[in-house]
Symmetry: C2
Subunit: 194 residues, 2 copies
DNA sequence: GTCTATAGTGCGATAGAC
DNA sequence: GTCTATCGCACTATAGAC
């Protein structure tokens, strides 16, 4: 009998999402998740520093995707062009097939304030990493931080729309629209004519 | 002998900040904080829903300040003008005398990821509340959310600068500069001439 | 105000991979 | 043999229930 199998983290993540979705986050103990895949509570905490983290592993992939967009952009790109490039690159992680999974995961997160906090924290780490990368390309402060935060804001708004009921547009399509809206908003000198 | 004194929450907050700063956040138990002001652990948790919250009570004042700025703005104001008004109003909560206190509090928060998460969450709640208020003024989506998030971003960047070593400028002064930088950043069509 | 479940840690032992 | 994943147990603090 095998004592351990590969993909332990992944199996724990899948089991956790399933249990959280059906029984609720707080009603599901770490021990239950572990037992459901034949492991112990202690092993769960070896893979995930805390219970929430089981829902957020994989966010490093997103950071990498944003950074890949920056790396591929031309050297003379403006900060906002870099933001656009990062967003386009990140959108590849959200193909239409993943909408269902994203919706399920998000519904769990929305049901628990502690999970919302963790999500915000991850976005914040993403923004900080992006800011570092922009500074690394010679963009000064506070432009680098503002651009990085704008990128995550646009991403967040776009993601919310993407998983919205009845939404058909692709992630990249939505991102472009939202980014254009941000440009328009901040550039607007005259008020509305209403 | 008095059984309780007024300002219990305030005394717990002050004691907590002091203990966190000198002994570290994780090394300080809720029971210790309570005992240091002659109360029991149970009483601590009656005032604060969890241990972190003792550092974040008072953030409602900030939400109110942002909203007050919106209310005072003229009806035909553009979203970005409303953002500016909210920021000016919020700056009043950060007079120069408070810089020292803000620096100490922030140094504690920066030492602990859990506290950083809570801080992000509070900013997020602020952004959501601002977004509601903007929608209440007839600003459509996604402009309302983008403007609200931009406001908190500018606030965050400004606050970081405000508590920076050697910083002399007032909060409102910094906010105006950062907001101008955001306008410039997003409006910029041509690239740098370097 | 007491009692309790659960999150999360520390340490030693064990079982396999290499 | 080393290295790492897992287990098992004892333990504290948080946080909620009674």
């Amino acid at each position: 009998m095998v004592r351990w199998q590969p993909g332990t983290s992944g199996r724990l993540q899948a089991a956790a999402l399933e249990l959280f979705a059906s029984n609720g986050y707080e009603q599901t103990t770490a021990a239950e998740i572990a037992q459901s895949v034949g492991l112990t509570e202690r092993t769960f905490f070896r893979h995930f520093s805390d219970k929430r983290e089981v829902l957020f592993h994989g966010q490093e992939l997103m950071v990498d995707a944003f950074l890949a967009g920056l790396v591929a952009a031309p050297g003379e790109a403006t900060p906002m062009e870099l933001v656009a490039a990062a967003l386009e690159s990140a959108a590849e992680l959200f193909p239409d097939e993943r909408r269902g999974h994203s919706r399920l995961r998000q519904s769990v997160i929305e049901q628990n304030p502690a999970l919302q906090e963790r999500e915000r924290h991850k976005m914040s780490v993403l923004a900080a990493t992006l800011g570092d990368a922009l500074r690394g390309r010679g963009i000064p402060e506070p432009a680098a931080t503002l651009a990085a935060e704008s990128a995550t804001t646009v991403f967040g708004v776009s993601f919310t729309q993407w998983i919205g009921a009845g939404e058909q547009r692709s992630m990249v399509e939505i991102e472009r629209t939202v980014l254009a809206e941000l440009r328009n908003l901040t550039a607007a000198r005259p008020a509305a004519k209403a």
